[in-house]
């Protein structure tokens, strides 16, 4: 009995040769199994043709697609009830709008991230008051941005600690550089109260 079942299983799996299949059918009650065998043989034929490629010709494919489209359209118009209408409106109007909005948003975010500048940009290098270090001033200085502004100086100042290059210099050189710095500062401070040009001509270009 077990052998018989295994033989049928192998038949279904297509593992039997033609002779073995014939033998199995002869050994069985053919009248009883005949319809099943025929149906299975047909199914197997379809599966084989499916593996080898489409059973339909290209013309057949076109007809099939056309029929499916008509069927879908018919379904939509047949179901033109009040529940289906909003869905159609959503699909036709809102979905494209939402998709467009997403792309615009993505583009905007991308542009904002790429361009650190606001306001008219410079000719050479998009010079900017904005951030390499996150410092940023927006036209509407929100509290969050304001906190960034207020906290940024400390970080920036630390980064600007006096150059070790200068500390490595001898006292005389440091003093001389300090003197230049002080003289420059005083000159700037004085000019603030008396902002006039002197008669000395501009340097040769």
């Amino acid at each position: 009995m077990e052998d018989h079942k295994e033989a049928w299983s192998a038949f279904i799996d297509g593992e039997l040769s033609e002779l073995e299949e014939l033998r199995l059918i002869r050994q069985s009650d053919f009248a009883q199994v005949s319809p099943s065998v025929h149906r299975w043989a047909s199914v197997r034929e379809h599966l084989r043709s499916g593996r080898q490629g489409s059973a339909l010709s290209s013309k057949g494919q076109a007809i099939l697609n056309q029929r499916i489209s008509h069927a879908l359209d018919a379904e939509v118009s047949a179901g033109g009830s009040q529940e289906a209408e909003p869905n159609r409106i959503i699909r036709r109007h809102v979905v494209p709008f939402a998709a467009a909005a997403s792309i615009v948003l993505a583009l905007t975010v991308g542009l904002l991230l790429q361009s650190p500048s606001y306001g008219p940009s410079g000719n050479e290098s998009e010079s900017s008051l904005l951030a390499e270090n996150g410092y940023e001033v927006r036209p509407t200085a929100s509290p969050v941005v304001q906190n960034q502004i207020n906290s940024a100086p400390q970080a920036a100042m630390l980064a600007r600690a006096e150059s070790s290059e200068l500390k490595a210099l001898d006292d005389e050189t440091q003093a001389r550089l300090r003197r230049y710095l002080e003289e420059h500062d005083r000159s700037v401070g004085l000019r603030a109260s008396n902002p006039q040009f002197v008669g000395y001509p501009a340097p040769t270009k």
Partner: protein, 328 residues
Amino acid sequence: MNQICQFWTPLKSSRWFKSLAVLMVMLSAAAGAETPEITALSEDERDPDYWIAKMSSSLLRENYRGVFALARGHQFSSLEVDHRFRDEVVQEQLTQLNGPLRRIVREGDHIRCYHESENTSLNHSVLLGPFSQSFNALLQAESDNYVVKVIGRDRVAGREAVMLTVQPSANDRFGFVLWLDRSKGLLLQSHMVDRGRILEVLQFATIEFDVTTELEDTDMLHQGWAVHSLSEEVLTANEEPTFKVKWTPRGYRVVSANKHRIHFSDGVSDFSVFVEQGRELPKLSTEIEGRSIVTRPLRGRPGQITIVGALPLQTAERLAESVEPIIF
């Protein structure tokens, strides 16, 4: 595959492109539109030139008293300022609140520095006002080297302020963010910025306008203090320098000069070029307290070029390369 086709089908339709176009128009309109903070300002107040002119005037003409902080590099100073404008003359007392007690007293062009302790060195850096950069409307008005914009409103030292950006047109100089008193136009806060890095911060903590009291008598106030004049040190005659600077960034002009120094300004930022004999300095490009310092040996003659000021290092280096001695 069918699902992908269903997703892309609407994208192919012209309706989708119409939606995209409508959104782009809305977005660009929103970007161009002024924020509510700015629209709350009057038409005059939305004009940056109005603020530059007002600030320039208020630097001299307002009577105010306040405390401000200045941070440059690792240096942080707190100072009290008392400023009067009487009979077209500026009177100002600037008291250092941390470190050794020093007071700078300005009366017109005369500037003296008083030291409480006679033992302290008179050789020190001097801040001659709350405005390290002498914004100058005269220079700025004709300049296209900066783009000035009113960008919003804020609150500084308990007062309503208008925010401006002074953005350089090129990367050869620094930019600023300014907070000006909305009523008086005085600079209440400023950041000097180099591509996002803040190099210098000035901020008033308290300020009082329309002060009518007279400044304290300096002789009474400083009895027993050491004093030295700053104006004599700085107000040198405008002598012909012994060198020339063949290249400067666009818009910079000479504002003072003597034999060994030329001071340039574009109305917003300043730098000095020094050329001196003596022991050669090492070739150096560095930043000290928010200012760039570049030193180079002078070509063709013994001497040393030093550039000091609020400039990016690359600009200062290019300047140094362009300095040449004048051969008489």
